[in-house]
Symmetry: C2
Subunit: 383 residues, 2 copies
């Protein structure tokens, strides 16, 4: 016992003082506590920067997205917020013109396209949906799937009890936006926490969620394929390739998992470019999905000359002949794609295609997409 | 087509200039390229810090772990290394006394305990094992497993072809060190890349790899359980609790996956505290594992009064009666646990227990643990 204690002390001392080369700084002593979420929902963000002349907090919890931090006597810069609504919030620092600095006192970061952001959650109605609770948890798997002859990476959520059970499940296909990848809905979209919590409380049916990589130029998120550690950028895929090979995904999922392989137990939804994809795919395979969700969708007619995008009206009519159980269009009143969505709804109205419309506040942002996922998931597979 | 192009331009403009609040800075323009790995294996690290007085690069690729960066005229600080051996390297910045800053120009970070580090890979013999190649990829799943009545999070690698095949596989149980968690071997240990590459080249048998959380105080890595976003710290578990409940893991794995549930197709290995666990578990269940790997193991007799740790000699003798096919002890000549490992080998010698010893250079560090995993994996399940 004594010997163990002595060795542990040595271990602590060693890792605290050795350079990165020896220990990767496994257990460093961080100088400050940041972020600190207080009981009233306010947050204190702190940064030790003794020589800095100006520190700006860039975040999504102050109006305008910028606020100057205040220097305290001991070289720590601080910002204290008002009490915040329950939500997941992101932030970074700009220090004397040096931008994009994540909080060195926190190891909680999420990547969105090529950006890292520090984040925290204010508990309450919404934040509790985005944080793990003491409920049964599903499984999250990264798998590789043949699509048009190439193996592509995909993320799959299976609900609690899947591994050891025998039941069959409905499937939600959930697509990311431009520049995103198969990790986006997990990291920034909080899909695991949302699904675990909604299913555990009986608000959503147990379902499988499949997240593909919708950028046909890449087979996987940055760093996960032989493409190596490329710099994530705003690459997209709106040339019909991805949509055309989506059948391979559905077939693979139905052959690999215990799914209920029927349209009434299949949903497809996506954000921004993913909403465009969901619209195109559901129209291209009109008998595949009974539930469609367009979240802040980048609704265009699509590139001309691409067969997939031709004959929009006829194909929509064909899709709606099958009377989808839910065709859900959601967008924020401040979204820069608002007008395109108005136009698209006018087209659907003209064609007599029945959809449900949900308008929120806010713009083209993850905060809305998480809300839309929560709402959409609760409407699925109940009929 | 024109409309699409215009809208995409708007999108780019919008996301480049809007504050974090609207867009999470999805697609920012980074000012510099960093890190840049050149063809000769040297690296250039850059940081835009126009007002800084001193920037120190903390890294594991210069001797001593620290090097001053040089300011160039345009406010960019730079360090150019010598050609480096093929390896995975980590780094951070200290800027005017502000420590632990990851590279704001890169989104490639890994977390080790409570620390984030930027990293890059220099290609070549070793680096190629740690980077994804154009080979068939296995699946990585995060699952929850009942252990002693509590659900605990675990990470499972299944080799390429598992989902759609019918074959049964051997299993390697791989344990982390103190302060680590079930994510450690994936993030810093590069287990997915290593196993994919070794299996694809025929150097390792296709196998399942199971990574548990060996800290009995936590059920999951930071941020993945109802404990919430706690600050990762050097918490350990060397009180016998974890070892005692390990049987539940093996039973669950054998019941859930297509395993070959025999000692000759089961291995257990761990680093540091995980090596201690592997030693204790394999001794406590002497007929469970035919392959044991102790990587820089924190070999102690264990706390007195814990039944699990009593009667070391008798229990080792009982374990070695079953003649494990491989009992592999690996450590670096500079490891602070070196002497304890000498002592342990002397004990095994005295008892007549046969083991294989591998001494490397270096100390108590991930670089060694990745090497040990590569070597150990190639020796498994071949007899």
């Amino acid at each position: 016992m004594n010997k163990l204690r002595i060795l542990l002390s040595v271990l602590v001392a060693l890792v605290t003082f050795t350079p990165l080369s020896a220990q990767q700084n496994l257990w460093q002593a961080k100088g400050v506590t940041s972020p600190e979420v207080l009981d009233d929902g306010s947050v204190v963000v702190r940064l030790y920067a003794p020589e800095a002349k100006s520190v700006v907090l860039k975040c999504d919890f102050v109006s305008g997205g910028n606020v100057a931090m205040q220097r305290t006597d001991d070289g720590v810069w601080e910002y204290r917020s008002e009490p915040l609504a329950s939500e997941l919030y992101c932030y970074r620092f700009s220090i004397d013109g040096m931008a994009d600095i994540v909080d060195p006192a926190s190891s909680y970061v999420m990547r969105d396209v090529g950006s890292l952001m520090s984040y925290f959650i204010v508990a309450g109605e919404r934040g509790d949906l985005y944080a793990p609770q003491g409920v049964k948890h599903g499984t999250l798997s990264r798998v590789w799937v043949p699509m048009s002859g190439h193996e592509r990476r995909m993320v799959v959520y299976t609900p609690a009890g899947y591994e050891r059970g025998k039941g069959k499940y409905p499937v939600l296909y959930l697509l990311h936006g431009m520049g995103g990848d198969e990790e986006a809905w997990v990291a920034t979209g909080r899909v695991v926490e949302i699904m675990d919590n909604l299913i555990a409380s009986g608000k959503a049916e147990p379902m499988i969620v499949v997240m593909t990589n919708g950028c046909s130029k890449h087979v996987a998120a940055p760093g996960y394929s032989e493409e190596g550690m490329f710099r994530p950028y705003m690459s997209g895929s709106m040339d019909g390739t991805f949509e055309a090979m989506f059948k391979d995904v559905v077939e693979w999922v139905d052959a690999t998992y215990r799914t209920i392989a029927k349209p009434e137990k299949r949903a497809i939804a996506g954000l921004s470019m993913g909403g465009f994809h969901a619209m195109q795919i559901s129209k291209h395979y009109p008998e595949m999905f009974d539930y469609v969700g367009l979240f802040s969708a980048a609704i265009f007619r699509g590139e001309s000359g691409v067969e997939m995008y031709e004959k929009l009206e006829q194909r929509l009519l064909r899709q709606f002949e099958h009377e989808p159980k839910l065709y859900w269009i959601a967008i924020g009143s401040g979204d820069f794609l608002y007008d395109e969505n108005v136009e698209y709804r006018e087209l659907l109205d003209r064609l007599g295609c029945k959809y449900t419309y949900r308008e929120s506040t806010g713009g083209h942002e993850w905060r809305n997409w998480r809300i839309y996922l929560c709402e959409f998931a609760q409407m699925l597979f109940k009929k």
